[in-house]
C-alpha cells in the first residue's frame, strides 16, 4: 500500500491538483458559504484522472508487480489523501476565522450559513465519501474514458453542495442550530462528525470494492 501511495504522490500529483487542494483555505473569506471552499477538492480529484490518462499512468502501473485491483487502490488512496489534505489545510484557517477574524468588527457578514463547526466537517466528509462512491466505480468500468464520468460526478456533488447552501439560507433556524455549541446542539455536532467519518470510510471502501470489481473485466 505504501508503495502504491508513493507512486501516486510522486508521479500523479501535479501543481494544478495541489493548488485545488490548497483552495480549501478560502474558508477564511467572510460571507462565503463555508461548504463552497471544498468544491475545489472534488475538482482536484477529477483533474488527476485525465492527467493520469494522458501520462499513460495505467499502462505504467499495469507493468509493475501489482494486481489489477491495485490500480484502483492506488487511485482511491490518492483521492483520500487529497480529501484529507484539503480538510487539514482548511482547519487552521477555519480556526483563524472563528477565533480571530470573526471578532474583528465588520469582518463577519451576517448571512445564514452552515458556518464553521463540526457539522460542516461531518457534511464535507459525507460529500467526499458520496463523491468517491459515484466517481470511482463508474470510472473503472472503462478507465480509458473520463469525460462523462468527470462532468456528471462533479455536477452531482456541486448540485448537492448548492442545495445544502441554499437550504441554510432559506431556513435561518437551521443556521442558528448548527452554530450552537451547547446542550443538544453540541451532541448533534459530535454525532454529525462521527456520522460523517463513518459514511466517508464505508462509502470509500465500497467505492474501492466496486471499482476493483469493475476493472477486473476490463482489458488493459
Amino acid at each position: 500500500m505504501k508503495k502504491l501511495l508513493f507512486k501516486e504522490l510522486r508521479l500523479c500529483l501535479n501543481p494544478q491538483v495541489i493548488v485545488f487542494v490548497c483552495l480549501s483555505v478560502l474558508i477564511v473569506i467572510p460571507g462565503w458559504p463555508s461548504l463552497t471552499s471544498f468544491i475545489y477538492t472534488f475538482m482536484a480529484i477529477v483533474v488527476i484522472f485525465p492527467i493520469a490518462l494522458a501520462n499513460k499512468d495505467l499502462e505504467f502501473t499495469a507493468l509493475l508487480p501489482v494486481r489489477k485491483t491495485d490500480l484502483v487502490k492506488g487511485k482511491v488512496m490518492l483521492a483520500v489523501s487529497i480529501e484529507l489534505a484539503s480538510i487539514l489545510i482548511s482547519l487552521p484557517f477555519a480556526l483563524l476565522k472563528v477565533f480571530v477574524l470573526n471578532n474583528i468588527e465588520g469582518f463577519e457578514v451576517n448571512v445564514p450559513d452552515l458556518g464553521i463547526n463540526l457539522i460542516l466537517y461531518g457534511i464535507v466528509l459525507f460529500l467526499c465519501g458520496f463523491f468517491n462512491l459515484i466517481f470511482i466505480p463508474w470510472y473503472y468500468k472503462n478507465p480509458f474514458k473520463i469525460a462523462k464520468v468527470q462532468i456528471v460526478s462533479t455536477f452531482i456533488v456541486i448540485a448537492l453542495t448548492s442545495v445544502l447552501i441554499v437550504l441554510f439560507i432559506l431556513i435561518p433556524d437551521m443556521s442558528i442550530f448548527v452554530n450552537t455549541f451547547t446542550g443538544t446542539a453540541l451532541i448533534v455536532q459530535f454525532a454529525s462528525l462521527l456520522a460523517g467519518i463513518l459514511v466517508f470510510l464505508s462509502f470509500t471502501y465500497l467505492s474501492f470494492r466496486l471499482g476493483a470489481k469493475n476493472i477486473a473485466s476490463v482489458d488493459l
Binding site: 508513493f6 501520462n55 499502462e59 507493468l63 509493475l64 508487480p65 501489482v66 477486473a216
Partner: protein, 290 residues
C-alpha cells in the same frame, strides 16, 4: 531436459473482429524465443493474457508449474514486461520513474541499473519527453532488466532503435540469457534480429500458433535459391516460391526436397524474414490498388 518456466495452455480470447484460438506454448529456462506474426496476429494480446492484463475467455497460464493468477505478485516480480518503450509520464525525469519502479521490486539491483544506464548511454536526469524513441526503448529495457527478471516478455523491444543500438540490445539478450539463464520471449518485426539471437520461433498467424520450433527446424523445409534468370528457362518455375527476377538475376525459395533438381544454382539457408514473407504472402501475387 530444460526446465519449463512458463506455460500457456489453450488460451482463447474472442473479440468482435479477432480471436486467439487455443494458443499454447511453453518457455524453457535460458532460451530466447522470437515471437513473430503480422500486425494484429495476436502477439500483444497473448503477452497481455500471460501478464493478466487481459482476461482470457478460457485457458490457463502456469508459472513455475503453478497457476499464474494465484501467485500473481510473485510471478510479476520475476517477470519483466515491456511494450515498446518507456513512453509514460513525459514530464517526469527518468530518475523519478526508476525510483518509483524500484520500490516495487524486492530484487531491484541499483548497481545493475546504473551499469545499464552507462551501457545504453542514458542520462537519468533527462525528462522522458526529452528522450528519442530509441532512448525510450532503451530506458524501458533498463527498467525491465534491472530487477533481475527470470523471464522477459518484450513486445517490439528493438523497434525504433538504430542498427548499432539494436545490435547492443541483442548482444545484451544473448549475454543475460547465457549468464543468468533468463528466458526471453520477444516479438519483433525486424526479423533479422531473430536470425541473430533467437533459439526458437513461436509463429502466430490469425490468432493461432502456426509454428513452434527451433530456428533450424523452422528453416529446414526451405532453401534460398538464386542464380541468373536465363538459366531458369530449363526449370519448372512453379517449384520456386516468392520468385523475384531483377536485372537478369533471380531469387526465391524452394522446398528442400527439390534440392537435387536445382543443384546447379546457389542454394543457401533461407532467412527468417523471407520465410515469414513466404508464409504470409505466398508468392506475393495478391492484387494491390496500384
Amino acid at each position: 531436459m530444460a526446465h519449463t518456466i512458463l506455460e500457456v495452455n489453450e488460451l482463447n480470447k474472442k473479440y468482435a473482429k479477432f480471436s486467439l484460438k487455443d494458443v499454447s506454448f511453453s518457455l524453457e529456462e535460458g532460451t530466447i524465443y522470437g515471437f513473430i506474426g503480422r500486425n494484429g496476429a495476436g502477439k500483444t494480446t497473448t503477452l497481455k493474457c500471460i501478464y493478466n492484463l487481459v482476461q482470457p475467455d478460457s485457458g490457463d497460464i502456469l508459472y513455475e508449474g503453478e497457476d499464474f493468477v494465484k501467485q500473481e505478485i510473485k510471478a510479476k516480480n520475476e517477470i519483466g514486461l515491456l511494450f515498446g518503450g518507456a513512453d509514460f509520464y513525459p514530464n517526469q525525469r527518468a530518475k523519478t520513474i526508476a525510483k518509483v519502479t524500484s520500490t516495487f521490486y524486492k530484487t531491484w539491483d541499483h548497481e545493475l541499473y546504473q551499469k545499464l544506464l552507462v551501457f545504453f548511454d542514458l542520462n537519468e536526469e533527462k525528462k522522458i519527453k526529452e528522450f528519442s524513441n530509441g532512448m525510450k526503448v532503451k530506458f524501458g529495457l533498463t527498467l525491465a532488466l534491472s530487477h533481475g527478471a527470470k523471464v522477459l516478455l518484450l513486445d517490439e523491444p528493438t523497434s525504433g532503435l538504430d542498427p548499432v543500438s539494436r545490435d547492443e540490445v541483442l548482444d545484451c539478450f544473448i549475454k543475460i540469457c547465457k549468464s543468468q539463464k533468463t528466458t526471453i520471449l520477444f516479438s519483433t518485426h525486424v526479423i533479422s534480429d531473430l536470425d541473430k539471437c533467437a533459439d526458437k520461433i513461436i509463429y502466430i498467424k490469425n490468432g493461432e500458433i502456426f509454428q513452434n520450433s527451433s530456428v533450424e527446424e523452422f528453416k529446414s523445409t526451405y532453401l534460398h535459391i538464386e542464380g541468373r534468370s536465363e538459366q531458369l528457362d530449363r526449370f519448372d518455375k512453379n517449384k520456386i516460391g516468392r520468385l523475384f527476377i531483377h536485372q537478369k538475376k533471380f531469387s526465391g525459395l524452394i522446398e528442400r526436397k527439390d534440392k537435387e533438381y536445382f543443384s546447379e544454382f546457389s542454394l543457401q539457408e533461407p532467412t527468417l524474414e523471407e520465410l515469414m514473407l513466404f508464409i504470409e504472402r505466398g508468392n506475393g501475387n495478391e492484387e494491390t490498388p496500384f
